[in-house]
């Protein structure tokens, strides 16, 4: 059966250690996700959740693979939009690979079902988040590029 998949590759001037730290530290994640609080200890089998500053639960899931500085994979269900929640779990993974003085970050977010509405919706958010990860690591600032969809 066809899947719904979003893939984003970006090259960041940093080390795998710093990238891993950014992707697993609540304070960094809060900047990358523009205010959303993401909590987990990122160990295999551990839960994770994303909540708004007002306490609204947006997303949750479970860590399925955790290799420091190389790969992080976790199940992800949207808790906030009923149509998305009804789709059940998607799978998100970060892969980190050193390339010269940079690290290639590959973000893959997929669902087993074809035409997933949730994957379609996050496809609009990932480029902003990836840009924030890169900006935060390279400049220490979060600079958001204008959303090309508008």
């Amino acid at each position: 059966m066809a899947k719904s998949t979003f893939v984003h590759e970006t090259y960041i001037r940093t080390t795998p250690e710093k990238l891993w730290s950014t992707l697993t530290t609540t304070d960094s994640l809060k900047r990358v996700w523009m205010g959303t609080r993401i909590e987990s200890d990122w160990k295999v089998g551990s839960p994770w959740r994303a909540i708004s500053p007002e306490g609204t639960l947006y997303d949750s899931g479970e860590v399925v693979e955790s290799i420091p500085n190389q790969k992080l994979a976790f199940k992800w269900v949207n808790e906030w939009v009923p149509d998305f929640k009804a789709e059940g779990y998607s799978l998100c993974q970060y892969e980190m690979e050193p390339v010269g003085e940079a690290v290639k970050l590959t973000i893959t977010h997929s669902a087993e079902r074809p035409d997933s509405k949730f994957i379609a919706a996050v496809t609009g958010a990932w480029p902003m988040v990836a840009s924030n990860i890169k900006s935060l690591l390279e400049t220490g600032k979060v600079v958001l590029v204008d959303n090309p969809r508008h």
Binding site: G35, S52, W80, F84, A121, K141, V143, D146
Partner: protein
């Protein structure tokens, strides 16, 4: 840390259509209901000339220090319901900054709202960061009423 040229980025997701959110940001009778940057700040009046180049202003009472302050600017982009860009002169200051709001409908009746604030000076950055946080809290509560 040097915050000069830092861009403030804040995102919230709300149970509302982009049209409803855009209107809440651009209609004076709605702005006075929710644009309060904290318990001690109360937006008393909003003036809006809703056209590109048109002026806007918000009169805020700071009840803790018993002062009335005005934040103002003009509209640069009015693309209802997707995008709103305005200049923003921080209260008690004489320089212009830029605020961009993007409204993206992620499912029917669910919108992701992204605010970027560019051009703030060091001394005004942290105040605005916490200010927007408070404003968005009030905004979320107001929408969920």
């Amino acid at each position: 840390m040097n915050a000069e040229n830092l861009v403030l980025v804040v995102q919230r997701k709300l149970k509302a259509s982009p049209e409803r959110l855009f209107d809440a940001w651009t209609r004076p009778e709605l702005l006075v209901q929710w644009f309060h940057a904290g318990e001690a700040m109360n937006t008393q009046a909003a003036e809006v000339d809703l056209r590109v180049g048109g002026a806007w202003s918000l009169t805020m009472d700071h009840t803790d220090i018993n002062e009335r302050r005005i934040t103002k600017g003009k509209y640069l982009v009015l693309d209802r319901p997707n995008k709103l860009v305005l200049t923003w002169i921080p209260c008690l200051k004489d320089y212009e900054t830029k605020v961009t709001l993007l409204f993206r409908e992620i499912a029917e009746g669910f919108t992701e709202m992204t605010l970027t604030h560019e051009g703030l000076r060091n001394e005004d950055f942290r105040g605005h960061e916490s200010g927007w946080d408070e404003i968005f809290k009030t905004f979320s509560n107001w929408f969920e009423k």
